[in-house]
């Protein structure tokens, strides 16, 4: 499309149109006062929800003394905060980010694949014990991780993999599926017409190729939802790294962030270098916002689907 066309279409949209005709249907009967009140509520909520982000980004660009001045535009710009964050002794930010990236990616890939296998098993086949096993699977969602965390820790300790560079306790459990994702993907597999599989069987497909060539491609949205949800879960998780990692070089980002907070926040006996803490916080938040920007549809649909049949 040429620039001219863009301008023209933009221009036509901006043409003065009678306001009544342009107003959304629902508002037509509503008085102006009510509409104005509604707009105030909407804008008010928006400010409430966005302001913490703005506050953090702005504070991260201020010198130490001005972090709490609550100005939106910093009086003195301190872009060097972001360089300083990467030069804190005993706080290897880059390593933490890298650890979080690869643990999240590996864990998400593992759980997506394993949950798909299990979900397909529950969705396609009819076998004795299916409903019972699926009930057991669903009921494991009720189990708080606190109940299993000590014996699980002892297993890893026995294997000598505590504080190990492979970060195994953080992602290996994902190889065995996860109840919520199995539930989500099963719903999706159930929606695939059975004829597709029967036809494939006629064509000589075996169970594996039916899973891999038909079920998986058709359930792609559910797999993407699983993948990004798990990326988020790993990126958020503080407790697991807290249990299994001791050396700062092995930390993932949440534990790194906590370490920076403890060494610079005033409660940990630090100097109150809040500008560094805030800069590190912004660094931890931005990748998630970026993922949301790309996959927002999947996040929103996935949550809605999870809530629909709980």
């Amino acid at each position: 499309m040429s620039q001219l066309e863009v301008l023209q279409s933009g221009g036509s949209a901006a043409m003065p149109v009678p306001p009544v005709a342009r107003a959304p249907r629902r508002w037509r009967s509503v008085g102006t006062v009510k509409a104005a009140l509604f707009a105030v509520v909407l804008v008010g909520f928006s400010i409430l929800f966005v302001y913490p982000f703005i506050w953090a980004i702005s504070a991260s660009l201020k010198p130490q003394a001005e972090v709490f001045d609550n100005r939106v535009i910093p009086k003195h710009w301190a872009f060097h905060n972001y360089a300083d964050v990467f030069r804190i002794p005993d706080a290897p930010m880059l390593t933490w980010i890298w650890n979080s990236v690869w643990v999240s990616t590996l864990g998400a890939l593992a759980v997506t694949f394993s949950s798909a296998l299990i979900a397909f098993g529950f969705a396609y086949f009819r076998f004795p014990g299916r409903n019972l096993l699926f009930g057991v699977l669903l009921s494991t969602m009720m189990l708080p991780q606190e109940v299993t965390m000590i014996p699980t820790y002892l297993i890893w300790k026995h294997l000598g993999l505590i504080n190990h560079g492979g970060q195994y306790p953080l992602w290996v459990p994902n190889l065995f599926g996860s109840a919520f994702y199995v539930f989500l993907q099963r719903q999706f597999f159930l929606g695939i017409p059975r004829d597709y599989f029967e036809a494939a069987r006629m064509d000589g497909d075996n169970y594996w190729t039916m899973f891999w060539r038909i079920a998986v491609p058709l359930a792609k949205p559910a797999l993407i939802v699983t993948f990004i949800f798990e990326i988020q879960a790993k990126w958020f998780d503080l407790m697991t790294p807290l249990i299994y990692l001791r050396d700062t070089a092995l930390f993932t980002l949440p534990l790194g962030l906590k370490t920076i907070l403890d060494s610079f926040g005033t409660s940990g006996g630090g100097q109150g270098d809040w500008q560094l803490i805030v800069a590190a916080t912004v660094i931890a938040v931005i990748p998630m916002l970026a993922i949301f920007a790309v996959f927002s549809k999947y996040f929103l649909d996935g949550i809605a689907a999870g809530g629909r049949k709980g």
Partner: protein, 319 residues
């Protein structure tokens, strides 16, 4: 025909057993179990095994360092008399009692607002959802900064309307309300569930209600609420469990290297105390009994919720 139907419908124990046995002669069954194999392994190693082990541990004084003894119900006896347990349990209950209603109401209001926005709904939905993408550790740090008693923006804004804001992060009475407010920033997920439920309410119900002379409030109470009650019920349960097991925000803000005494008493949530008993004091036996208490509490509360909600939840058509 009528004489055949009852026997076909009610398979006796023998037929059922035969069905089971014959199932295992089918190749399909074995292939299905093959697909489920990852879950069988994971369930054994990471769920069933640890559950049993944890139950056994809860009757011992296992603590890594010393020799382990069978202590019977001593741990459970101790936890009843441990003032920190009741304190921590109260903290978690109070937090849950405050945060769950606030989150449900806020999310519902936001969803209702979004429903009326029209074309810009996508944009505002994104805005309301973004906090949900913020890592809890980051949320806790923002909490410490925004709710800072002397220089935080929250008290600054309260000052504009003449309110002398409390010292949120250091005054024990205000620690939990502050955490609740900050947590309610991330209601985006709940809101999206409600929005989907609201969009699923058939329009003709509203039209029929309006024709019968029902006002906006009546339509909301008698049409909207019953129609979205499954979603409300689902989030009610999920949020309650999340509230009772809340760990990350409280731990980040008040524990770790900078553990203090005063306000940490107020932020000592049950999961935090459990974690400290486990991995800071290494009282694995005692911590296991704490974990089982938590599990039982969650089961009991969920059971009550399910029983009570049965009256109010309306499942359309199905079930």
């Amino acid at each position: 025909m009528a004489s055949i139907a009852p026997t076909a419908q009610k398979p006796g124990p023998l037929t059922r057993a035969r069905f089971w046995a014959s199932g295992f002669k089918e190749r399909d069954t074995w292939v299905a179990y093959g697909f489920l194999l990852p879950w069988f392994i994971g369930f054994t190693i990471f769920i069933a095994g640890p559950m049993i082990a944890s139950l056994v541990l809860s009757f011992t004084d296992y603590s890594v360092i010393q020799a382990t003894n069978w202590v019977g119900t001593q741990n459970y006896h101790d936890l009843i008399h441990d003032p920190k347990v009741s304190k921590a349990m109260m903290n978690s209950l109070v937090f849950t009692l405050m945060s769950v209603p606030l989150e449900i109401v806020t999310a519902l209001v936001l969803a209702l607002v979004l429903l009326r926005v029209g074309r810009m709904a996508g944009f505002f939905r994104t805005i309301f959802y973004l906090p949900k993408m913020t890592p809890p550790v980051a949320v806790a740090i923002l909490y410490l900064l925004l709710f800072n008693g002397s220089v935080g923006i929250v008290n600054r804004v309260l000052g504009w309307v003449g309110i002398n804001g409390p010292f949120w992060t250091t005054d024990p009475t205000w620690v939990k309300p502050g955490l609740v407010l900050m947590s309610s920033w991330a209601v985006g997920g709940t809101m999206v569930i409600y929005l989907a439920a609201l969009r699923g309410v058939p329009q003709h119900l509203y039209e029929a209600a309006a024709m019968d002379g029902a006002g906006a409030w009546r339509r909301f109470r008698d049409v909207t609420l019953p129609m979205i009650s499954p979603a409300l019920f689902f989030t009610f349960i999920i949020l309650t469990i999340a509230g009772l097991t809340e760990f990350t925000k409280a731990y980040t803000a008040f524990f770790g290297a900078g553990t203090k005494t005063n306000e940490t008493e107020a932020a000592l949530f049950y999961a935090v105390y459990l974690f400290r008993q486990s991995f800071e004091f290494f009282h694995f036996g005692y911590a296991s009994s704490l974990a089982w208490l938590l599990f039982v509490v969650i089961l009991v509360i969920t059971f009550i919720q399910v029983r009570v909600s049965k009256r109010f939840v309306f499942y359309q058509g199905e079930r």
